[in-house]
Symmetry: C2
Subunit: 225 residues, 2 copies
DNA sequence: AAAAACCTTACATCAGGTGTAAGTTCAAAT
DNA sequence: ATTTGAACTTACACCTGATGTAAGGTTTTT
């Protein structure tokens, strides 16, 4: 069953939406603490986020941006402001649908199921800056083409992406590549890192693996010209 | 520049749409022969189809279905009938957006660019019955997972898919796999075909490669139970 | 029953990914 | 500036998995 996270500050509308969705075969989680909405949402690990724009602390726009930044969860915006500017804004931020209240139940359900369908099978894809990586095959999609990364390079890139911009220790990478049990020469990791860097450079990827002395490695975006 | 194919029987609206799209950086082709619209459309090899519902011979719905069947071009439906049933219908047929006239220019443009963005990079994916195949890496997407096919198996599957259900001669397959110049043992092809069949079976794919005695091979859907 | 078309299995070969070893470069800290 | 440990590079040998070859089996048609 697909999980939907409903973000709406008006309690009446919120429960109405929740029960409507539940009646239609979704599992629903609601947000009622509006302090740090994006991380609250991500705690639910939803398959889709239904998001209002007018919220207490942070606007739906900001939330949408942050969600899209930290994850690749689909976002459907449902708002009472029927403003073209809002719509343009939302879609530019990466929202997947924009609907206005009052909503037609069927229309909302259909849009939701459409967005979910659109994302189907993409759950194995993780997003990096300017590219996609298939976690199962380590097929890398960039710039309209695709390449298969060698398994080890793929695993390293995967673990780096899962920590978006954060440093990842050698140990963590090593665990991911060879499993925590085996001991592997530090150097083996080194060599594979070099190989990954070379591959990424040869693909003109807009990011690099950067060493953080004494700590580990991280992905950084390379902004050229 | 992206090509958009405009399908609209009202000449005034048609030219208005065309020039509007052209002014916004698209190359536009229009349909003015409504005899066999789907194939007329596909002749243009568009990146997106903008489709009316009320048309002389064939309804936009039928056209949409046929387009989605024969290709994987995105379809945006733009119609004057603002009917929820129509919308549900269209989206179920695989339409990517549903908009009603009168349209707001900006909204239409935004939706179009969104749909195009959504399809970006998928130009290397060809659709088979129940699965997708990446033509570059021969990564096969089925049932929420993905597998990499060996190059030869991938090439064979590709050439078979490009002829959707039609027979393909051994020669054609051989040309695709090894190039027309080299002569290769008939048996090499045979072995690779067997390997492909085995792979497909082990993946529980809903189709098989079937031999057509004296002619070649074709993909057939296996309908079990 | 014989021939033709199609299929299967096993094996040797080859390419590409991988770990190892040995050595070089880099950058922070004295 | 020198030192020192961390980070990097290159070359090589090994191993896995994809491929072509060979030899023989099965199915279909006449």
């Amino acid at each position: 069953m697909k999980r939907i996270c409903v973000v709406e500050d008006e309690p009446l509308v919120r429960t109405e939406l929740a029960s409507m969705l539940e009646n239609n075969g979704y599992s629903v989680g609601v947000i009622d603490n509006f302090d740090d909405v994006p991380s609250e949402i991500l705690k639910h690990e939803p398959d889709l986020v239904l998001l209002d724009i007018n919220l207490p602390n942070m606007s739906g726009f900001q939330i949408c941006r942050e969600l899209k930044n930290k994850s690749s969860v689909p976002v459907v915006i449902l708002t009472s402001r029927d403003d073209l500017k809002d719509e343009l804004n939302a879609l530019e931020l990466g929202a997947d649908e924009f609907m206005t209240k009052p909503y037609r139940k069927e229309r909302l359900l259909l849009r939701i199921s459409n967005v979910l369908k659109r994302y189907e099978g993409r759950s194995n894809l993780i997003e990096g800056p300017g590219f996609l990586l298939d976690k199962l095959t380590y097929t890398l999609y960039i710039d309209g083409t695709s390449v298969i990364l060698p398994k080890n390079q793929g695993k390293i890139l995967e673990v780096l992406l899962q920590n978006r911009g954060e440093e990842v220790s050698r140990q963590e990478i090593s665990d991911k590549v060879w499993g925590t049990s085996e001991f592997i020469d530090e150097n083996a990791l080194q060599v594979n890192l070099t190989r990954l860097k070379k591959t990424m450079a040869s693909l003109n990827m807009p990011c690099t693996v950067q060493a953080v002395r004494g700590v580990g490695y991280k992905i950084v975006e390379t902004e050229e010209i």
